[in-house]
Symmetry: C2
Subunit: 232 residues, 2 copies
DNA sequence: CGAAAGCTGTTCAAAATTGACCACTTTCTA
DNA sequence: TAGAAAGTGGTCAATTTTGAACAGCTTTCG
């Protein structure tokens, strides 16, 4: 991913915020974090945006009743906390690293001025937000129509990188059923139930590692006859 | 860069896309629609963005199983179909007018070039997408942790404009239980059930018109005796 | 006017989901 | 290193939600 040197000409050129911000004097700070560190917490003053240079970060919200929900999982090259740019005074969610991470904090004022003065950055930023938007909308639609079973199959496939460029990574880093439940908005017992079902049907495997087979796709694609195995 | 004339100075200045696009020669078209007209359909080629000059538009998605879900309801001053800007080749949703509307269609290429050349427009556009993002995220969170009853109360309050600047409009335009069900992802029988409950409790009224009282807020705000401090 | 189409209120069995509980494993610590 | 604490996975009864009726009202329109 090391940006070349002479590009930046073509309109399709990747614009690297790190390189760019590195040329700016103030209002930014790069730092490294270990897994499970909190980048910002729900309720904090929202006066900056973070850029994920490397790693995975989860964004969660805690309800008044104390339930937790995973709103998004962001990776390399994505922004977090953009809400502050439309005047949200406080963080509405908590951002926590899931892996080793390298993040860059940029002051709200700083990013605003760059958005103003740098069309290339502005363009990249718009692309990023629109993508994010599309993803959240997809999650919402998923939530509105699909059963818990399909939602679970979907996040598992997404975690395994199905649909992305590179060959899918069939083995997923350790992830608890608890967290899966938070991601799809259900209870852990429901997750346990379907994980078993998937395993019995040979769609996934897990003992030590979690392996996702492409056959899991059938859960999402297939409609009707659930064949034989009736659960419950 | 033929900016207006003297405005555009203050950073908070309202930027009016209609006025702006009016100065541009090609790639735009304004039209008026009556209620229930389709602006674009799921599956159409996505090569333009629409700006709602006036009226309300609903954005819906139809699943493979034929179920319909309302993803968003957009109003005056908002954009629809921005997905095309990140390369979505086809419309993922259907946009339908709910009231008399006036909309402006702008070619993808056109809007892209303006985004490039006009920082003021670009800024306004970013603000719009970020707001949209925040709203969809709020919907997702709502869906992830609230019960059907609370979700229904929430959309009713939103429809009544609670939370917006002006005094809320307690009377809501006719809206069927069917559509409410699609908005919160449940069945009509459930909506009917809760609407009755709300009515019996005096939170809403409806015979001819639907009136929302502020007391409905209690459905969302009240928890049980929350003396129970949940600790983690 | 009268038929047809749309809504809404209700009911009910079937299906999905929750919440609490038990068992087992890993991690921490006295 | 034993024991406690925390994290995980599986099970089940109780509860909630769905989906598919059906009947009573309005609205629409020929």
């Amino acid at each position: 991913m090391t940006k070349g040197t002479k590009p930046a000409r073509t309109s399709r050129t990747r614009f690297d915020p790190v390189v760019f911000f590195a040329t700016v004097a103030k209002g930014r700070a790069i730092s490294k974090q270990r897994p499970k560190q909190v980048i910002f917490s729900q309720g904090d003053i929202a006066d900056s945006v973070f850029y994920v240079k490397k790693g995975k970060v989860k964004v969660t919200v805690i309800s008044k009743q104390g339930k937790e929900a995973v709103v998004a999982i962001l990776g390399t090259g994505e922004f977090i906390g953009e809400g502050c740019l439309i005047g949200q005074p406080k963080r509405l969610a908590t951002a926590t690293t899931m892996t080793e991470c390298e993040t860059m904090r940029v002051d709200k004022a700083q990013i605003q001025s760059v958005l103003q003065s740098e069309p290339a950055f502005s363009k990249m930023f718009i692309t990023h937000i629109l993508s994010r938007n599309a993803r959240v909308e997809a999650d919402l639609v998923d939530q509105l129509f699909n059963s818990t079973e399909k939602r679970l199959a979907r996040v598992l496939l997404l975690l395994a990188n199905f649909g992305k460029e590179g060959r899918p990574e069939p083995v997923i880093a350790k992830i608890s059923q608890e967290m899966l439940a938070e991601m799809i908005g259900t209870t852990r017992s429901r997750v346990s139930h379907f994980m078993n079902k998937f395993r019995q049907m040979g769609f996934i495997d897990y003992k030590r590692n979690l392996e996702i087979h492409s056959s899991l796709l059938s859960v999402i694609l297939n409609e009707q006859p659930d064949d034989v195995r009736k659960s419950k």
